[in-house]
């Protein structure tokens, strides 16, 4: 426990966390500091390309592994299952309507790629290796949770609307959303071109990576802080508790899965991080289309204003420390 806490404290003074905190504080103080939307989107394309490519190169170096397939299947199952846990917890802890609870649950079944990127960075700074294919697991976990949420709605009688919205258009949009395509595509290109490909572009995707992440997290802090400030009226204690408890519960699911699959220390930590994280890009867009009655102020504030900062500051070091202790890594 002591190690866990001291690791967490060390993590808190890294530039990436501090730039996030700077953005968060600036937003709470109502500074007009802002990152242009195009720059933020450009940086997120960069992070996806880099993390996907690196995962692919690492796969090409270590060779294919049967565990890749089991890990993918496990990821999909986790993404399907976690919304049910989240939904039950929300109905217990909060007074949210069925539609708000279902929409929120979808976010917690899915994943936040930026949280995954931050965890990968912290792991590699600590010299802890992880399976390159965890990038593919991350991509596989994005979408299934959306189906669980729509099923939860249907079961509660709100299904007609949701189901009708879930036409082939929406399914294609979800499966081919930009993040998934770029992440998987870059992963495949990394796997195909391997270390040779890496030698050609590492000065772009490796050396400046952490610096770009700092600027990106500055923006995330601004956006999260602004969201929190505007929605502060909504954040009853029950919701707040959910925003911190749910990632811990998710992490336990991820931990068990990672141990059962026999992943490395880094792999277990990443599986925990994925399960603990909540989507704030792909799932909100899908929810606006399929469940427009659900309030974005609820689910976005929870995912981005509470759970994301929690995972970034305390969650990731905790998951890492637990993974290290339990895998003996």
């Amino acid at each position: 426990m002591d190690t866990i806490l001291s690791l967490a404290a060390a993590n808190l003074i890294s530039p990436i966390i501090l730039f996030f905190a700077l953005g968060f504080a600036a937003a709470l103080m109502r500074s007009e500091l802002s990152v242009p939307e195009a720059i933020a989107k450009g940086m997120s394309l960069y992070l996806l390309l880099a993390i996907g490519f690196k995962g692919g190169v690492s796969l090409s170096e270590h060779g294919l592994d049967a565990r890749l397939f089991f890990a993918l299947i496990a990821g999909v199952l986790l993404s399907f299952a976690l919304p049910f846990v989240a939904f039950a917890l929300l109905r217990r802890l909060t007074g949210l309507s069925v539609v708000d609870a279902a929409a929120t649950a979808a976010h917690y079944g899915s994943v936040s790629i930026v949280t995954f990127v931050a965890a990968s960075t912290v792991l590699s700074s600590a010299g802890i290796a992880a399976e390159g294919y965890m990038v593919a697991v991350a991509a596989a976990m994005e979408a299934p949770a959306i189906l669980s949420a729509l099923w939860l709605m249907a079961r509660s009688g709100g299904g007609a609307a949701g189901a009708s919205a879930l036409g082939p258009g929406l399914i294609r949009e979800i499966l081919l959303n930009g993040s998934i395509v770029l992440l998987i595509g870059a992963f495949a290109i990394g796997a195909i071109t391997g270390p040779q490909g890496m030698a050609q572009i590492d000065a772009f995707i490796v050396a400046p990576f952490q610096g770009v992440l700092c600027l990106f997290l500055l923006d995330m802090g601004l956006v999260a802080g602004r969201g929190l400030r505007e929605a502060r009226g909504l954040l009853r204690p029950g919701l707040l508790a959910f925003g911190v408890l749910m990632p811990l519960i998710g992490a336990v699911f991820g931990l068990v899965t990672g141990l059962v699959l026999g992943l490395s220390t880094g792999g277990v930590a990443l599986m925990m991080t994925l399960s603990a994280s909540a989507s704030y890009i792909a799932v909100p867009a899908a929810m606006r289309v399929a469940l427009p009655e659900a309030r974005p102020a609820i689910y976005l504030t929870l995912a981005l204003g509470i759970t994301f900062p929690f995972n970034l500051t305390l969650g990731i070091p905790i998951y890492m420390a637990v993974a290290q202790v339990l895998t003996g890594g």
């Binding site: 969201g227 704030y280 606006r288 427009p292 009655e293 102020a297 976005l300």
Partner: protein, 103 residues
């Protein structure tokens, strides 16, 4: 210059619904429209702004259609079939156009 009366319909809608709206317009045989970006706004569901918004996933756009007056009703039916459950506003103004064969 020879002028003709027409209607200017302005629809502000969530960006995620844009493609569905324009498809509905096209199936109502409204094939002329222009889409403008929106920086922010306020309404019954509160404020939002492109820079301060909680998610880049959201945001709105404004679609402007100039149509012959007799095409207004099918257009509105098509628009409201999409707008129905979603946030957004519609307004219609009388206008005049010059090259009528275009509309």
């Amino acid at each position: 210059m020879q002028t003709h009366t027409a209607k200017r319909v302005e629809i502000t809608i969530e960006a995620v619904m844009q493609r569905r709206l324009t498809e509905a317009l096209e199936s109502a045989e409204v094939s002329g429209y222009t889409i403008h970006p929106v920086l922010g706004g306020s309404g019954r569901s509160g404020h939002w702004s492109r820079e301060g918004q909680v998610s880049r996933a959201s945001g709105m756009v404004t679609v402007v259609c100039i149509i012959r007056p007799e095409r207004l009703d099918p257009l509105l039916d098509a628009a409201f079939s999409i707008l129905d459950r979603h946030i957004g506003v519609v307004n219609v103004t009388d206008c005049v156009v010059m090259r009528a064969e275009r509309f």
